[in-house]
Symmetry: C2
Subunit: 300 residues, 2 copies
């Protein structure tokens, strides 16, 4: 039987990363964020009064929803009007998350398969509970005897989010208009100095999706997951300074770390998905096997 | 870009297999089936009046729930009392699903990780929306050049459910008290004459979970999924007569069949999960990639 303290800790991680849909979350008090009649996010109760101070852009709450005003009827006009509001709010310095302004445009759409209806500054997306998409790469090696080791990164202590925590080999958010494979190759190059010829061998295998609330807002995210089998002699190197160190660790060690607070939570989920797909967790011995798989793939 | 007619058809399959949680399902009119205060299923509106004719076993609907009476306070007493009712109802011949009585005991519990609170005849579980668990095995071969082929079974025309449709290499329900690995080896042996020494090489990789309603009731199911890489020369053989034929097909052909009505729907889901994990579907070209993954792993 698997170690039940480990299993409990992992289950808690999955629950915390999906706490927006648990009883007692702010969801009942959130406003749907609607554009052209379709929901594209959730606005937390403390954010709504702030937005409705800009009646040229946001409608007052109505039927549980806050919308963009009807006259903002194109991708560009919506994006620019909302951006202008956010730039103003940012000056007022009242919202912590806007201090992490990145000048990165994220697409806003009801579902990933829908056409984008506007772009939004990345740092603001949690104020609107807008879905965010990204790419995470599991880097691993297989020895001649079949032993699997996994590359983990330790985030720089100067990163604005989750400084100093363990991360996947490389990862990054999907900016508006940029492809998934393109993002993967770029992040591998920038964060870990992995040449394109190697990064392109990464194989798409899954998505990991979850919605959690924190003080800064609502985080509804889905990560496109790739496995990259690296040659045993290959070593990632520190690139743009987002990472301070890389470690090649045996799977047992990775599994152990997964249940500690040393891991950035969504990266721990991506590793858990790897452990399940690669049969390092077995359903006869892991009581929560079925709950683990469900918890990794919640509907956005 | 992927074929969009194919993608639409697959998305429809996933929606149909999760229709219990869509607007317009019978869910709003179902009664929670509760044992000892914990929900273990959903009783469809037309089934409840039938059960409450047995007040020694079932309570009248109260607060949206039908429960077992309090005096049935052990695994054995509950199982026997419900079985006695079902045997009587079965004689009356009013419920189609009981014509498929199998004398197979399934465990009843709130979640897979909870201790069973009773057993129930397999054919009756949909009348109570009790969660059912099973094992499905993807059998495949990889040629020297890396080409992947998949073994599919065609169900016997005399099977009581889904006769004549395509199925995974082997599959079976998890009976009360029987292990997952044990079920896998048994089903491989019985259905496809795969020796234990080969079947034991199957690797656990995922679960596929879904809840749908049909005339016969509510089907809340999770399948433990295994991949079994077979030697190219190995051929499964018809065993207990549940299968009429086995085919070894190129992945493109399997993918094409997935979007036809020739597949047992939950087996098509298991194959879709295989195609995603083995990178035969790519997120840059499959618009519904993210929705496919979510649709395969719905919370029971």
């Amino acid at each position: 039987m698997a170690n039940s303290a480990w299993s409990d800790k992992v289950l808690q991680l999955l629950r915390r990363m999906n706490n927006f849909y648990l009883a007692g979350s702010c969801r009942a008090n959130c406003f749907r964020f609607e554009i052209d009649g379709a929901q594209v996010g959730w606005i937390p109760p403390r954010v709504a009064p702030l937005l409705t101070q800009y009646p040229d852009v946001f409608t007052p709450p109505h039927g549980g929803a806050v919308s963009l005003v009807h006259s903002l009827d194109s991708y560009e006009t919506r994006s620019e009007a909302v951006d202008a509001v956010l730039q103003t709010v940012r000056q007022e310095d009242s919202l912590t998350c806007l201090k992490g302004w990145r000048d990165e445009k994220y697409s806003v759409m009801p579902k990933f398969s829908d056409p984008p209806v506007m772009w939004m500054e990345r740092a603001a997306t949690s104020l609107f509970g807008v879905k965010r998409y990204g790419v995470h790469i599991n880097g691993y090696t297989v020895s001649d005897s079949g032993e699997v080791n996994m590359w983990l990164a330790r985030r720089s202590r100067t990163k604005q989010t989750y400084p100093g925590l363990l991360d996947n080999l490389a990862a990054g958010g999907l900016a508006a208009g940029v492809g998934i494979q393109h993002t993967l190759v770029k992040e591998c190059q920038e964060e870990a100095c992995i040449p394109a010829a190697i990064a392109e061998k990464a194989r798409p295998v899954s998505t990991v999706s979850y919605t959690y609330e924190e003080e800064e807002g609502v985080f509804a995210e889905s990560q496109f997951v790739f496995d990259l089998k690296l040659p045993p002699e290959f070593k990632p190197r520190i690139g743009d300074g987002e990472v301070q160190d890389f470690y090649l660790l045996p799977i047992d060690k990775v599994k152990e770390l997964l249940a500690t607070d040393d891991f950035k939570p969504n990266c721990a989920m991506v590793v858990l998905d790897f452990l399940i797909r690669h049969s390092f967790i077995e359903p006869d011995t892991e009581l929560y096997y079925q709950e683990f798989v469900e918890g990794l793939h919640q509907t956005l």
